[in-house]
């Protein structure tokens, strides 16, 4: 996976870049993938009271079409495997919004054997919002923050992930052990 990934040259459309940035800002699609305890905070966002669709945002179940990945709450190693795979499936300008303190330093489960202490080691986080679990207003504030970053080009989590992919890959393999994808897939084969 890593080999050809780096040599890919980014086709920078200089002329249309401001137009695309505006379009990316105005239409962010969420991956419908809720990790941890914050998942239940997502539905209020699409209801009549908060309605993120005003900003052109739409929950989208397919990662291939999505841009924003909401990490809502603590991340266990098992979920982190799914997050990494889904994140790598998403096409390129992609952003991550982390909820609460658990993704930053393990939060309440700081000493639990089963929670990833620092998510930023494994996937690049663009914006982190406070609150255990943040209310929809806080999530909307986070989304506005992401929009501001996209507008002036700071939201470059995906570029960081691509440029130092080796480092991220090393941390992941360190946590899960080398070749964890095949091993995990073989383990699930018994169930199919």
């Amino acid at each position: 996976m890593g080999g050809d990934f780096i040599s890919y040259e980014l086709k920078e459309f200089k002329l249309f870049e401001p137009l695309f940035r505006w379009a990316r800002k105005k239409s962010i699609w969420l991956v419908a993938f809720c990790t941890g305890c914050g998942g239940i905070e997502m539905p209020p966002l699409v209801t009549a009271r908060y309605d993120i669709e005003r900003f052109g945002m739409m929950p989208n179940p397919a990662p291939r079409m999505a841009d924003l990945f909401l990490i809502t709450g603590y991340v266990t190693p098992k979920t982190l495997k799914r997050i990494i795979i889904t994140y790598e499936l998403m096409p390129d300008p992609k952003y991550i919004l982390a909820h609460g303190s658990c993704p930053i330093n393990g939060g309440v489960y700081w000493d639990s054997y089963n929670v990833v202490k620092q998510l930023d080691k494994y996937i690049p986080i663009d914006v982190a919002i406070a609150g255990c679990m943040p209310r929809p207003e806080a999530v909307m504030d986070g989304i506005r923050e992401i929009m501001r970053k996209i507008e002036n080009g700071e939201a470059d989590g995906w570029r960081r992930y691509r440029e130092n992919y080796e480092w991220y890959r090393k941390n992941q393999d360190e946590l899960f052990g080398e070749g964890w994808r095949e091993r995990d897939a073989k383990r699930w084969l018994a169930w199919l």
Binding site: K78, W110, D111, Y113, N114, K121, G177
Partner: protein
């Protein structure tokens, strides 16, 4: 869910223990539906002690070697086995297994408790009464290391391969040192002693 049960049981257990020791005679049972149920079961199983905690909630304390027999008797009335939760009494060196039963007909909740020693804890399986017990026993085995004879699939269940056979929910499992070995340098809380946690 095992973790939360643990604290709740501790507090309830300690408060409830005090009054029972004072009147060592059998506490008289209120003649409500629950009381009659307990009386009925106690006649069939004299070795057990039963009490009514509150409306819709009754408790039994059964010695470990007679647990299977008692559960067979209880299963006529209590059709569903809701959960097998385990309490780790480190100081007394015992595990306390709580079989939570639910009777659909009388809509009453029964807690059947037994005590077994912590070292190489062994229990007969109850899969022959309630097949669903297989999952609860696998979980109890994975997190506490209790071996249930007769359960065919006691092996790895939910946890990551790294934590197999480590039985992480035991009281003597030192999570702090384990986490330090795995997450190493980015684990930034340095206070060793467990008394004053720094969050």
């Amino acid at each position: 869910m095992a973790v939360t049960d643990n604290e709740v049981k501790n507090k309830v257990e300690s408060t409830q223990k005090a009054p029972q020791d004072t009147q060592n005679a059998k506490p008289e049972l209120p003649n409500t539906k629950e009381g009659r149920l307990v009386k009925e079961l106690l006649e069939k199983a004299p070795y057990a002690e039963g009490s009514v905690r509150r409306e819709k909630r009754i408790e039994f304390r059964v010695p470990a070697e007679r647990i299977h027999e008692f559960l067979e008797i209880a299963s006529e009335k209590f059709e569903m086995l809701m959960q097998i939760s385990v309490v780790d009494w480190l100081k007394e060196g015992e595990f306390e297994l709580v079989y939570q039963l639910w009777s659909v007909s009388e809509s009453v909740h029964a807690f059947v408790k037994t005590r077994i020693s912590r070292e190489n804890a062994k229990m007969p399986t109850v899969m022959d009464i309630w097949p669903v017990a297989e999952t609860y026993e696998r979980e109890a085995h994975e997190f506490f290391g209790i071996i249930f004879e007769g359960n065919p699939r006691l092996g790895p269940f939910i946890l990551e391969p790294r934590e197999y056979e480590k039985h992480p929910l035991r009281k003597d499992f030192n999570t702090l040192s384990y986490v330090k070995t795995i997450y190493g340098e980015d684990f930034d809380r340095y206070d060793e002693s467990k008394t004053n946690y720094v969050i």
